[in-house]
């Protein structure tokens, strides 16, 4: 494995008396899809929110692209190249595709030495088209509000936005939720394409088929702890389910030591 893009060491996140993430290590290398698997409340979303700057961890270190980081705000993480695609996609459904891809980072014409700035919709449309093309995504029209698009298409817009802004790590939260079967396939295909282009992906999911369809490695969490980490090729659905429900735990000994300390 090459130098990891993301490296999380001993991360702990507490909410009052509740410890949502306990002492978790996680490595993600370039060109790798890592599935983060776990039941509801296992701590996978909290872990990811610490990485993407939504939460601040109480303990532990996060290294991104070789540098130690502590993002105070989500926008800091995004600027650094960590793009998180949440279930609600964070798209403005009343705006068209280019407006969404360039939201907050619009391309502008400048007049009178920058005194008057207008939107350069032409450039944004062209760039959006290009970005979608690199992912083999085709829409009949890009200039309609995206509320007329299907769930999978909107997912594609969110991914294209991340790709356009040169995301160095893509975190996707349940990307195939609420999608029809053909759309799920299309989204999984996009994830493979991202990996092939060298962008590592962390896939948060509790959908087992997705894990085996795209992930190279799988990390299972249970009650805030990492209970196993396996190559997808070396494991099976049955085994992963046992980890998910807490019947198996590779790190129990280590955890009890940490708990005693």
């Amino acid at each position: 494995m090459s130098e990891p893009v993301l490296s999380v060491r001993g991360l702990v996140k507490r909410f009052g008396g509740l410890t949502a993430v306990r002492n978790v290590d996680l490595d993600v290398a370039a060109g790798e899809v890592v599935a983060l698997l776990g039941d509801n409340g296992a701590g996978k979303s909290t872990l990811i929110k610490c990485v993407s700057g939504v939460h601040r961890a109480e303990e532990g270190e996060i290294f991104f692209a070789g540098k130690k980081t502590a993002f105070g705000k989500p926008i800091d993480a995004r600027t650094a190249g960590i793009e998180t695609i949440y279930q609600d996609l964070a798209l403005a459904n009343n705006l068209d595709v280019p407006s969404n891809i360039f939201l907050g980072r619009e391309v502008k014409h400048r007049y009178l030495g920058g005194l008057i700035k207008t939107l350069d919709n032409k450039t944004m449309l062209r760039e959006s088209r290009g970005s979608l093309a690199t992912l083999d995504i085709q829409f009949p029209t890009l200039t309609q509000p995206i509320e007329s698009l299907s769930g999978g298409q909107r997912q594609a817009v969110a991914i294209a936005r991340a790709v356009y802004w040169k995301a160095q790590l893509m975190i996707m939260d349940e990307p195939t939720n609420n999608l029809g079967v053909p759309e799920q396939q299309k989204v999984l295909e996009l994830i493979r394409k991202l990996r092939d282009q060298g962008t590592p992906v962390i896939l948060i999911t509790h959908t087992m088929p997705d894990v085996f369809a795209v992930a190279d490695r799988v990390v299972v969490m249970h009650r805030g702890r990492k209970v196993t980490e396996k190559r997808t090729a070396d494991t099976s659905t049955e085994e992963l389910v046992q980890y998910m429900v807490g019947a198996r735990d590779d790190y129990r000994a280590a955890a009890s030591v940490a708990g005693a300390a």
Binding site: A92, L119, T141, Q144
Partner: protein, 379 residues
């Protein structure tokens, strides 16, 4: 089939032709309604009131002058409502601006300032006073997370009190006479028929009284200023990042935040903008009536919101246009004027405007239904 939604078909592109026609009509209904209404009055007014016709130059200019205050309040409100907010303070802010500009003009003129400079000072007082109220509204809404409805309701009472206090009981009088020219002159003048003509900026001084009586004002100054504000508003909303972010905040606040848009600062600007357009309205009314009035704006608030809604701005945020608001204001003004000319008791205008507002929202909702039904049918 569980779903026929695929990555290559969009919902609207696949609508049947009749549905698409229905959709177009529902989008353009405000234009159609305005045209039909004008047509109705053009036919009915001469029929019911002998010798009077609806579509005269004078009447059209009167309608335009009448909509200026409602339109100015509505323009700022359009931005605010697109961002999923509401500004209930603009009526009284307009009153406050009228009082402030009247005080500034009177006091500076009495202190020896030339009239033109006093007028400029009056404009600045109106805009600064109104803008300050708007910025405070926006700050409380954005930073302290108090609902816009509450903040602007509260501030409208405060502003009302200030306007009445500073005007020392409703009106500021004693403004220089020359002010009237600023408020009531127009860009062009026209005299229809023999001996008449078309004049720029001012009519000939030596007009016989008989012709002077036929003088029509084309584009009175308040209308010109309102048109400039309309043009600026269209530019801001359609062409700039400011407009794009306004739509984004109204469409999905979370998305706007995650995209790194400075949402708080934007909201403060929106309420300042809304108050400033109201302030311009107050300034114009001071010129027009040669006096500041602390009660001029209040009755216009709800009309302006009605204009915005008739114009198709969604109260849920994220959708709306400037031209829609202009049409909405026109519909209200044409309706009011037309009914008066039909000798219908003036109070009927309220009943009709109210009905139009509700119908407007129903049509907007039916649009979703037209598309929505298709989506449902695909399953």
């Amino acid at each position: 089939m569980a779903t026929t939604d695929t990555l290559t078909a969009t919902a609207t592109a696949a609508l049947s032709p009749s549905r698409r026609l229905l959709l177009t009509v529902s989008r353009l209904w405000a234009w159609l309604f305005l045209l039909l209404m004008i047509l109705f009055f053009v036919i009915m007014v001469p029929w019911l009131s002998q010798g009077v016709s609806f579509l005269t130059v004078r009447n059209s200019q009167n309608i335009l002058v009448a909509i200026v205050p409602v339109l100015l309040l509505g323009l700022g409100q359009t931005f605010v409502i697109i961002s999923a907010g509401i500004d209930l303070s603009v009526g009284w802010v307009m009153s406050l601006a009228s009082v402030l500009s009247a005080l500034a003009i009177r006091n500076s003129f009495n202190a020896g300032t030339p009239l033109w400079l006093a007028v400029i000072l009056g404009f600045l007082a109106a805009v600064a006073g109104a803008g300050a109220v708007g910025a405070i509204n926006g700050t409380i809404i954005a930073k302290l997370k108090v609902p816009a409805f509450i903040v602007t309701l509260g501030s409208s009472f405060i502003v009302r009190g200030l306007a009445l206090l500073w005007s020392e009981n409703t009106t500021v009088v004693g403004l220089p006479d020359g002010i009237r020219d600023y408020g009531n002159d127009s860009l062009f003048y026209w005299i229809h028929g023999e001996g008449g003509g078309f004049y720029f900026l001012e009519p000939p001084a030596d007009l016989p009284t008989q012709l002077r009586r036929q003088l029509d004002l084309i584009l009175p100054w308040p209308v010109v200023i309102a048109l400039v504000v309309v043009a600026i508003a269209m530019f801001l909303l359609n062409r700039t990042q400011f407009g794009r972010h306004t739509y984004a905040i109204g469409g999905n606040m979370q998305a706007a935040l995650r995209a790194g848009i400075p949402v708080d600062r934007h909201i403060i600007k929106l309420y300042a903008l809304s108050a400033i357009t109201a302030g311009i309205g107050g300034f114009l009314s001071t010129l027009r009536y040669t006096g500041g009035s602390a009660v001029i704006g209040d009755p216009l608030l709800l009309s302006s919101i009605a204009a915005v809604i008739i114009g198709g701005v969604s109260l849920f945020g994220g959708a709306g246009t400037i031209i829609g608001t202009v049409i909405g204001a026109l519909i209200i003004a044409v309706l009011t004027t037309g009914l008066v000319m039909l000798n219908v008791p003036a109070f009927w205008q309220f009943i009709v405007v109210g009905a139009v507002v509700i119908v407007a929202v129903l049509i907007d909702q039916s649009r979703d239904l037209i598309i929505g039904r298709y989506k449902g049918g695909a399953e």
